[in-house]
Symmetry: C2
Subunit: 272 residues, 2 copies
């Protein structure tokens, strides 16, 4: 049995609700799987680690495009800790990493202790999971959750503000909602500016360069019911596309689905 299968078989994450407990299992190298439903009340983050010079431009890019690139935490150069998000060692606390060199995927290690050095800077970015929880809590049904599919995501014609080598158009995620739910969803997600915030568009996808709503660029095609509007939020795939196109000499991310679990509660991200 491969190490990966052994890890899955032991399933040490079943029922874990405490983020510290989850991270300790991951830190010990005992779990390399996805983090869906692990410590569900707590903020999970996308990871992007870059060398110092690229990090400075990336920081300017995120700063200039806060809706698609909501930075929840940023480490000081060379510091593997993320103050304020818990007792985190970014070198070990993500279940599975991806290592890119000049834009090419070269490895998927379960820690990056060998790769870490004083030139590296860690960014962790919020994801839509943190605003989907309060939507669901308020009784707003989300079709991709009900159908257990991946939310549909689209490249748009909305230009992000460029910063140095980071230049791209915004990627959006889409959730079909009734007009009443769409209005309520604008209100609810406005409370979460740190995890994409309010929608960037409602109802007329052709205005933002989306030709066929049934053909997303990422994720699964949506199931649109009669009387629903497509509602679009800025998506965390945007900074990934920006990094892909910039091809930095080194970039370390999480493996999709295997995210950093922080000690911050989703509800703490509410601005009010």
């Amino acid at each position: 049995m491969s190490k990966e299968l052994q890890l899955q078989a032991s399933n040490p994450m079943m029922g874990v609700i405490d983020p510290r407990e989850a991270r300790m299992v991951i830190r010990r190298g005992e779990y390399a799987g996805h983090t869906a439903n692990v410590a569900p009340d707590y903020v999970q983050c996308n990871l992007c680690i870059l060398p110092r010079d690229d990090a400075l431009e990336f920081s300017a890019f995120c700063q200039s495009n806060p809706k698609p690139c909501p930075v929840v935490g940023m480490g000081a150069p060379g510091d593997p800790a993320l103050q304020g998000l818990g007792d985190i060692d970014i070198r070990t606390d993500v279940p599975c990493y991806r290592v890119f060199r000049n834009g090419e995927l070269v490895d998927e290690p379960i820690d990056i202790l060998d790769l870490w050095n004083s030139d590296l800077v860690a960014f962790v970015l919020g994801c839509s999971f943190s605003f989907e929880a309060p939507l669901l809590d308020e009784g707003i049904a989300l079709q991709h959750v009900e159908h257990d599919t991946v939310v549909p995501m689209y490249r748009t014609s909305i230009a992000c503000t460029p910063a140095g080598k980071f230049v791209c158009d915004m990627v959006v995620s889409m959730r079909p909602l009734s007009p009443a739910d769409a209005i309520r969803a604008v209100q609810i997600t406005s409370r979460f500016p740190g995890v994409h915030g309010a929608p960037v568009h409602i109802g007329l996808p052709e205005q933002i360069g989306i030709e066929d709503i049934m053909k997303p660029d990422f994720g699964d095609p949506p199931v649109m019911d009669e009387g629903q509007l497509p509602v679009f939020w800025a998506c965390g795939v945007t900074p990934q596309v920006a990094v892909e196109q910039a091809k930095p000499s080194l970039c370390i991310t999480h493996k999709p689905g295997s995210m950093l679990i922080t000690d911050k509660k989703n509800i703490e991200l509410a601005a009010f």
Copy 2:
């Protein structure tokens, strides 16, 4: 007559409400004074320019302490433009600069064309002016505005999250308000997370290390009326203190009161 007096005598900013017009006058070197009431509907920003390595740590510091350090714009390294805030050249568009070397004030030039280089990064930070306008619009009287004094500011015992060499306690500004106005002010300023957001404390200054409310560390002593509570907001002096203590080899700021005027309207900073 000195150049400065000439500049004051000509007073080219009298009645200017368009931010582009104001910046053109400043860019031509024709105005080196303060920017109070110039283009009053538009966001004015504090400036902090740092060399690349310090900039990366400062970016992490601001990212980790968004309430006292609300970054409204950040330039890519070496880029004097600030995308998204208007046609800005950060080397010329602030009326008067301050140049610090190793923490010592060494010059107050009206442009920094000679100093700018590819190693420098510009940060512009929001200020409380952007949230005071909506408070005043909603009929909430502010004592320092009524008395034409400088808002009182205090060093507190609230530790900022450190990042590299940037380590300090939070500085807060205080506005005395009736309990009803304090509640309304929480609601209104919650709409402006990009310019300090909701208060950090109400009513019990000793809990945050303030011994005597009548003895502020910066600004003028307050006038407290019977039945008013002291309401405290995170203050943009905090990053200035952090930079002062870090003593970077070079730091360029605006001269207090002489701020960068952007094309962004104050109301555009409202999160909802």
